[in-house]
């Protein structure tokens, strides 16, 4: 998957590209409006990540160029402005999703994956890890071919892990993914712990292996 990241903060650009490259994506970067125009004119991308605040132009103006040159690309807007105005405008102009700074890299990755699934695998949509298969259309999870009875939140958490497999996912990032930014209980990690315990139990009931590992009390990692 080929990705163009348009972001003027070099550090953030590097961190995003680093994370996504490890996820097996091919990342190109542009830190100015000018450079972004160049890249967009010359190449085709599957996903474009666009920061709206650029030093030499408004990111919103790039959207029309993207629609013109890279009409098939999925477009994810990143903004520090957290403003509904920008969000509505961006989505109106054809952006597919919107994420506000500061965000968790795992969340960014999850959004890109979901965007890619919606864009490129029309209908048939399965993620597989050994004996576990998730169908993101029917929202079903199967272990060794047997369906798991998961709650919506358990499903969301498992999908989040599957997408970010082999990475340490922080509890904070899971909490925000499930409950959003402002939830009163988003920092109560006991709830995450009990959800994860339930997921493990349900997978093990179907003779699945436990791939959810605790990492130093920071979070969890979904891996062999």
């Amino acid at each position: 998957m080929k990705i163009l990241i348009i972001e003027d903060e070099k550090d953030l650009l590097e961190a995003m590209a680093g994370y996504l490259t490890l996820e097996g994506m091919l990342c190109e970067t542009a830190s100015t409006f000018f450079k972004a125009e160049d890249s967009l004119s010359a190449y085709n991308y599957d996903i474009i990540i666009l920061d709206l605040t650029l030093p030499d132009g408004n990111g919103l103006d790039l959207i029309s160029l993207i629609k013109e040159r890279n009409s098939k690309a999925g477009l994810l807007i990143v903004s520090a402005r957290n403003s509904l105005d920008d969000k509505v405008k961006g989505l109106d102009l054809g952006a597919d999703d919107y994420i506000t700074k500061p965000f968790h890299l795992a969340e960014l990755n999850s959004r890109i994956r979901s965007l890619a699934r919606r864009r490129f695998f029309d209908g048939k949509n399965e993620l597989t890890f050994n004996e576990i298969t998730i169908n993101t259309d029917s929202l079903e999870v199967a272990v060794n071919g047997e369906l798991l009875d998961l709650t919506r939140k358990e499903y969301d958490i498992l999908l989040y892990f599957m997408v970010n497999r082999n990475r340490v996912i922080t509890r904070e990032s899971i909490a925000e993914h499930i409950w959003g930014d402002n939830s009163t209980f988003a920092d109560n990690f006991d709830f995450i712990y009990s959800h994860i315990k339930n997921i493990r139990k349900k997978i093990e009931q179907k003779k699945g292996k436990n791939y959810l590992h605790n990492i130093y009390g920071i979070g969890y990692k979904f891996s062999e």
Binding site: E9, D11, L12, A15, M16, G18, Y19, L22, A80, R81, N82, S83, L84, D85, V88, T100, K101, P102, F103, H104, L105, A106, K153, R167, V168, T170, E172, S173, W179, G180, D181, N182, S183, T184, F185, A186, D187, N188, D190, F191, S194, H195, I215, Y216, G217, I218, G219
Partner: protein
């Protein structure tokens, strides 16, 4: 608190009352001295006339108690002297005060003692008359002054009161504010100009402050995302020691907490700056149900039940995002603070939303809870912004919110 007019009236009353008392006293003293000397002159004249009559005609005239002439032995000689005396008047059956002139005169080798008298006005009558006169003048003066003052002051102070009325409508959220009335009086004109300057300053400071919160929170977001993403990358390192991991974890939690804080502050500033203008018809009940689902773990953990009573349902025009946030904050609070094993009751009507939960009594007045960064307990890990956000959402929509506590029952009412 006393009105200005009341105060001047009171001072004026005290001052003029004492002035009138002194004036009355002086009048009394001067008048009695004057009357006395007049009376003395008259008595002397009568005496002279008697002496003359005796000298010329030898007739001795007596008219007690006014005139008494007696022949006296030559040895007793009295110089003229004035005195006051009291004589019983049989006809009027009362003692009457008299002024008398007593003296001896020798006429044609005879010695006469002559007493001339005249009635004296009684001192108490005299005093009473003076008190009554000055008193009524005083009252008259006071009354007329009171009415003049009242009328005049209403007129004089009218620009002041209109400035006051205008000023009461002032809010720093006004785009501009200009006092008009001054009534052509220099002092009030000065007051008006000063107040205009002051309110302009308040408005501009308030705007700067509002922008500042928004700009500052906004500017923090980008560096914060760098910190957060760098730490997230660092966590991925496979060879971290437990101590390193703990240190990264603590820095990371702090950065996440800071991110939440700036997000809340930014959100608050944006509601204040009315940056959520889009509104649509929303179904509040379905928002309540989805938010209840979001809190399902906490609700289960505390063995709570959420009862939603909605007879007619409630649809209103509002911003979805703000309505969700309102419900999320109020429901979250209710769950957090209620005792376990109980119900949270939500009553939804066409024009109001009520949420009831039990919980410990408040240590402060409920309205204080809406203050920014106010925390009921210092140990709480919340920022104390939730209810401020609720308050701002209500203000932005012209909704009225009240919070009451009765017998451990907390009740929040939002009237649409």
């Amino acid at each position: 608190m006393m009105k200005l007019l009341q105060k001047t009236n009171r001072a004026y009353f005290i001052l003029s009352a004492s002035a009138f008392a002194v004036a009355g006293l002086v009048t009394y003293l001067v008048l009695s001295l004057f009357l006395e000397s007049q009376l003395n002159e008259k008595l002397a004249a009568t005496k002279d006339h008697l002496v003359e009559t005796i000298e010329t005609s030898g007739v001795v005239y007596n008219d007690p108690p006014y005139i008494e002439v007696r022949e006296e032995p030559a040895s007793s000689e009295i110089k003229d002297s004035y005195s006051d005396t009291i004589i019983y008047d049989a006809s009027e059956k009362e003692s009457v005060p008299f002024r008398q002139l007593t003296g001896t005169v020798s006429i044609r080798d005879k010695n006469f003692k002559i007493i001339t008298r005249n009635t004296l006005i009684e001192k108490s009558d005299f005093l009473l008359t003076i008190i009554l006169t000055t008193g009524s003048v005083f009252l008259l003066l006071l009354l007329s002054l009171y009415f003049i003052n009242k009328k005049l002051s209403r007129k004089i102070w009218s620009p002041f009161y209109s400035i006051l009325d205008e000023l009461k409508k002032f809010s720093p959220e006004n785009a501009s504010f200009d006092l008009i009335a001054s009534g052509g009086i220099e002092e009030f004109e000065e007051l008006r100009l000063t107040l205009n300057k002051l309110t302009a300053k308040v408005i501009s400071d308030y705007q700067v402050l509002k922008r500042f919160t928004e700009d500052a929170s906004h500017e923090i977001q980008t560096p914060l995302s760098i910190v957060q993403s760098r730490l997230e990358s660092l966590i991925q390192e496979p060879d971290l020691t437990e101590i390193q991991a703990a240190q990264i974890q603590s820095a990371y939690s702090a950065s996440v907490r800071l991110a939440k804080l700036t997000r809340s502050m930014l959100f608050l500033a944006r509601i204040e700056n009315r940056q959520y203008p889009e509104s649509e018809e929303i179904d509040l009940e379905s928002i309540i149900r989805s938010q209840t689902e979001l809190f399902s773990e906490a609700i289960r953990e505390k063995s709570l039940s959420v009862e939603i009573h909605s007879d007619s349902g409630c649809s209103l025009n509002a911003n979805v995002f703000l309505a969700e946030s309102l419900i999320q904050n109020l429901l979250g609070n209710a769950i957090k603070h209620s005792f376990g094993n109980s119900s949270i009751i939500i009553e939804l009507k066409q024009d109001s939303f009520v949420i009831l939960n039990n919980g410990a009594p408040l240590q402060v007045e409920p309205r204080k809870l809406f203050d920014r960064f106010y925390k009921a307990s210092s140990s709480s890990d919340s920022f104390g912004l939730g209810l401020s956000i609720v308050m701002e959402i209500c203000k932005a929509n012209n909704w009225h919110i009240t919070y009451t506590v009765e017998n451990n029952l907390h009740k929040v009412t939002v009237k649409f």
